[in-house]
Assembly symmetry: C2
Homo-oligomer: 128 residues x 2
């Protein structure tokens, strides 16, 4: 998969998340996927995303920066949303917050196999 | 600057930081550099780094992942160090902590012009 294909695949993956089209998630996420060291597999990865959308009904992934160098993708994702209750251990309770996630992915066979994600928790704290 | 040159330049930049060779910082950082939206310039950028090393005497930058696509660099940096006193608002007080920073850079004229950095504060909290 070359750089252009990788970029297109990643954009389709983000589209799949925003559509909450979980039936298609397996087109983008490997059966053996790991997320921040956790061996989620495809099913655990899907559960994480479903939990995220349950906690943040207006969750939307916006690609701010995309850097591709096969087999790696690095993306800066921007969020502007209203998490219910506690989010990342913070009492957000439906307040609108803006924050970013800087995240790396390694793909295998055209699918996300490993994810290293950091969410800007300090930015959220500063808005509460 | 092609991908290989960009990667080599970035590795030399990290070497410059680890050597605290501030006289050479201007080879890698643009006069108009911005860091997380703050218009630091080269002098403010240097002051930020000097403050970091003052607060964390055993600070060392370790490149865990490097993704280059000119003019962008994305890097995952790993740290294992003992910050003095408060760090990111957390009472670390000399305890050894391990954490990562996922960071994007845009270069211009071969120098870092803009930085978007997120440090994994939640990982540090979990170790206190």
């Amino acid at each position: 998969m070359d750089k252009i294909e990788l970029s297109n695949t990643y954009r389709r993956y983000i589209g799949c998340l925003n559509a909450q089209d979980w039936a298609r998630l397996g087109q983008f996420v490997h059966d053996q996927a790991r997320h921040n060291g956790r061996p989620f597999g495809l099913s655990g990865y899907r559960e994480m995303l479903e939990r995220d959308f349950n906690q943040i009904p207006d969750l939307h992934f916006n690609i701010a920066l995309l850097v591709c160098d096969p087999p790696f993708v690095a993306s800066r994702l921007d969020f502007n949303c209203t998490p219910r209750g506690e989010f990342l251990g913070l009492p957000v309770n439906g307040k609108r917050v803006s924050f970013s996630e800087n995240v790396f992915y390694r793909l295998r066979d055209g699918k996300i196999e490993e994810v290293w994600s950091v969410i800007d928790k300090a930015a959220i704290e500063a808005q509460l």
